[in-house]
Assembly symmetry: C2
Homo-oligomer: 607 residues x 2
């Protein structure tokens, strides 16, 4: 079901009950871009720590807009032995709801926009009919404002028809030339409140005088009602002042309260759906979902915390139970059977033996998706096939039971090992971010941090370390890289050889980490990107309009499916993960060469 | 005529000849936002210097995208005694044209996008079918790359069918495990070039081996042609190597050159239209056109220079003759007759006496606009009515001649006083930016720079200066403002009184400017915005993808027509300008009160 601002209110109950009845739900987001700084390969260094990766994504990905949000709810029907699904595709846009609401700015990345355009994405639906939203702080502010107005109201300050936040603060500053006019108005209004008339026509006035009248009468505490009149024949505008009796006032106030409440709910908009997911505590499934989770929290809850640990805690509050199908597919027992974990490929592989396509039925009133006619990169469709992938893999686990079971529920103990572990793109030796506990700390004793002149290419590094056999290179920026040796005992030899080198410098990984931590402690911003990269100070902000500071650059479009940040067909795909016993990943030569090619390209266009 | 990527190439000749034959042309741009920092009122302080205004616009407006460009050419037909017009409405989008091209990021401002959406703007046309563009540096880089490839080519390095910038740089680094394979390939290919065979089938290989083969053979200098083959029955892929004879090679090279040239022109895209306008030297008319000019230069020529004087020089190269209808309408003899200079209102007023609606005819094959059915904020339409306004005002000048003339050409001496003077929004005493000379330097002896606690409101300032009669307040940020006294000799009295004040501080305008200049000289970034404003350091960048650093904030949407940055109906409209004898503008009380209201609103939502 497609949901825009036009049908949002009418669809909300359907959304709520779909979430309420679901066994689990799958989500997916589409964004206006991926990285406002480095290209995606530099954003995802193979030897990032989880903290580094989180910091980079927070810094370079959060100023894009999550503008399409897909939810597909899956409810198992015992009698039919199949899942009943309800897919929703929401269009999201931060339409300012009044003059004091935040005027959000977001970044668009041309390559991402162009990619979505090529997939038939409807930008008009987003920008013209997107559902608004507020994060929790903005919502609280708005509620406070409304509350404040009500109180003024209850105290007889402020008027039912003209509310100005500044109007009740004190006497209006009346400029000399208007004083006579205003005094005459006050006298007349005072007279009105002592005689039996119901209304009073004031003299014609300008817009500015009108403002002064409102401010003065409100401050003086009259219970009155203005009505703007126009003497057509003379083209003059004047105000008619009416005394307001108690009953009418109460009725108006009640109407106004109700209208305000509705406007407030409208402004909170799509955030209400996210709150409902959150409150339901249901299992939320996504594919390669770290960015989706980060964006969801950032946009609909609060600006992301600086610290990874705080992020994990917030995440557990918002999504108490998460499952990442990319991580699941990269883990035993699936990793041996699944060669490509990109969503589209995974979905295809899980249709073939030993897996079984899950039996699903689209609930009545929902348009059904056809997996044969791929609608990839529509968030609702992606959420749908993500759910299918989860069901296939979960059911496959049932085949190991005695007796085997064909249906494994979302509450089964069998899938618990996969809970709350979010896939980490292209990190060699840390397959996932562990939301509910400490992250894996692989030994990186065999890793060297090398700095060198910016003319160096991957081949120079291979030459430098040619004595050490097979090495792996992970570029950090133009003048530094991690070099993983195949044997840890070679590290000391490499260090010794480098002692007198002038053109390059080698540190152990431990030294590198220590130096970095010291820099951070001493308050220096760590230099994460190279000279022609994107060194930037980062201001944290208290509203979701916070912006990163991208510096321009000729950044090559990554080879792979950037939108989804999927792995390339050849190369980067991890060797598979065993959750119990984490394998040490390897970078293939292919990867190193690709990286080198990119670096060369960059040099060429920069030069 | 609507022009997108789909019909751009086919329309180009029509565009060129329209420009070539025109007497003058009118332009207009639509942007994805106006300010990524302060709200528009703070961006346009009434006492900005031209340098300050330029710096603020450069910093806070250039990271938005100019995504619709309107051109309307006007050609006078003597026989018909009317203008023949050709309106064009171009959709612009920086679609990356290849993997090494810049991946432009641009900001969208929700309020601007929402405003355009409400006007029926078609975002899909921009994002799906926008015409690409390159600035001059990007174009030069691309030409250089192409040239380089041709040279490699001419030297027999590189292949006609497989170009990799890195391929000819040196021997491929062949990993140990592939060395045997590659050596076998080299032997076979060497044999091919000594025997009479034309082709050679290599062994099946992986993608990575394929890359190594390409790199090695290219580096070895073989003149060969690869063709990827697939043995369907065995699902194996292998390469067929063909010897390339001289004639075929030349033919292929020629084809390739032509294709490259065409691709290059496609990539330069809309910039070609701007170059044509520029080369034509024709009078270019716009309404309140400073931002249009800045964006056009920034997007299609070069990043804007730091210095205002340099900007003026660049502007004169790009647009040798400009005329701003908003400035013209605010200047004698028009200022007495025109009460509202916003484009829509101006167009209406110029239809009534003593002005005459110009006689125009839409050229054949162009859809005609109807001014009765306003299509405001479509760039092509806005350009059209801007041209109409210019013609009406120019012709009116003819009535002062003896004998009076009903038609005044775009080359008439009568309009020369209006050339190259761009309207400056809301500056009290400097009505325009003088592109071809020094700017006006009004005396600001009567202006004080006041700093105070952030709780202060306009009324506090009025109270402080109550002894001095009528004053004018121009807010700078939450803790500072300019206060203009009505008499210069009061300045010294105010300074003396303030000497022992603790809560506030007063400087003369001259002192303020001096302190600012010293700060700038000493390399400090001037603090332009207040604590909860947008203090930001600004990195300049060498490509058009340069980004400002907006800090989020709850910025009220300005009351007036933000898209066009038109004046409000009441208040801000300048008193009119006499180009010969610049009047001292005044801020009305209305303005001050409006500003105060905004400040209060801001406080409320921030709190």
């Amino acid at each position: 079901m497609e949901v825009t601002r036009r049908n949002f209110k009418d669809s909300l109950n359907a959304v709520y009950s779909a979430i309420e009845e679901a066994d689990f739900l799958a989500i997916d987001g589409e964004f206006s871009g991926i990285s406002d700084g480095p290209n995606v390969s530099a954003l995802t260094n193979g030897l990032d720590t989880p903290e580094e990766r989180y910091t980079k994504l927070k810094k370079h990905s959060m100023d894009f807009l999550l503008f399409q949000f897909g939810i597909c709810t899956f409810t198992y029907d015992q009698t039919k032995s199949k899942y009943i699904i309800k897919p929703f595709n929401f269009y999201i846009f931060p339409k300012p709801f009044n003059r004091t609401s935040p005027d959000i700015k977001f970044i668009c990345q041309s390559s991402s926009i162009d990619f979505l355009a090529s997939q038939g994405f409807d930008f008009n639906k987003v920008f013209c009919n997107g559902i608004p939203y507020l994060n929790q702080e903005e919502e609280a502010q708005l509620r406070e404002q409304t509350e404040e107005r009500r109180n003024q109201h209850a105290n007889g300050v402020g008027t039912p028809s003209y509310i100005s936040p500044s109007s009740s603060k004190g006497p209006a500053h009346v400029p000399e030339e208007h004083k006579d006019f205003i005094n005459r108005v006050i006298e007349k209004v005072e007279a009105l409140f002592t005689n039996s008339e119901k209304t009073l026509d004031l003299e014609p006035c300008t817009g500015f005088q009108r403002k002064l009248i409102y401010q003065t009468l409100n401050w003086k505490g009259f219970t009155w009602k203005p009505s703007r009149q126009k003497r057509l024949e003379r083209k003059e505008r004047f105000i008619q002042v009416s005394k307001v009796d108690d009953e009418e006032r109460k009725r108006r106030e009640q109407q106004k309260l109700e209208k305000e409440q509705e406007e407030l709910n409208d402004a909170v908009g799509f955030s209400r759906v996210v709150h409902a997911i959150s409150k339901s505590g249901k299992l939320v499934v996504g594919h390669n979902m770290l960015l989706d989770v980060m964006h969801t929290i950032h946009q609909f809850y609060c600006p992301l915390p600086e610290d990874l640990q705080d992020f994990k805690e917030v995440t557990m509050c918002v999504f108490p139970r998460l499952l990442d199908t990319k991580l699941m597919a990269s883990t035993q027992p699936f990793k041996e059977m699944i060669t490509n974990t990109s969503l589209a490929e995974l979905e295809k592989q899980l249709k073939e033996g030993p897996f079984k396509s899950p039996q699903v039925e689209t609930a009545e009133g929902f348009p059904s998706y056809d997996t044969a006619q791929e609608q990839l990169h529509e968030a609702g469709y992606d959420a749908y096939i993500t759910g299918l992938c989860f069901v296939s893999m979960a059911n496959y686990l049932g085949s190991f039971l005695t007796p085997p079971k064909a249906y494994i529920s979302a509450r089964s103990k069998l899938i618990e090992p996969f809970f709350n572990k979010l896939f980490l793109m292209r990190i060699i030796d840390i397959p996932y971010l562990n939301i509910t506990g400490p992250d894996l700390q692989p030994k990186r004793d065999h890793v060297l941090y090398v700095t060198f002149p910016k003319e160096w290419k991957t081949s120079d590094l291979y030459q430098l370390f040619s004595a050490f056999g097979n090495i792996q290179v992970s570029w950090i920026d133009d003048t530094s890289a991690f070099v993983s040796l195949s044997q840890t005992d070679q590290v000391q030899i490499a260090m010794n050889t480098s002692r007198y080198a002038e053109s390059y410098r080698i540190q152990t990984y431990a030294e590198y980490i220590q130096a970095k931590q010291e820099k951070e402690k001493s308050g220096q911003t760590p230099k994460t990107w190279g000279e022609d990269g994107w060194v930037k100070s980062h201001y944290s902000s208290t509203t979701s309009a916070g912006f990163g500071y991208p510096r321009s650059g000729l950044s090559p479009i990554p080879d792979d499916d950037e939108e989804e940040e999927e792995e390339e067909e050849e190369g980067g795909s991890p060797e598979g993960i065993d959750l119990a016993n984490n394998s040490e990943g390897t970078v293939t030569w292919q990867q190193a060469t690709t990286r080198k090619g990119q670096k060369n390209k960059k040099k060429k266009t920069d030069g």
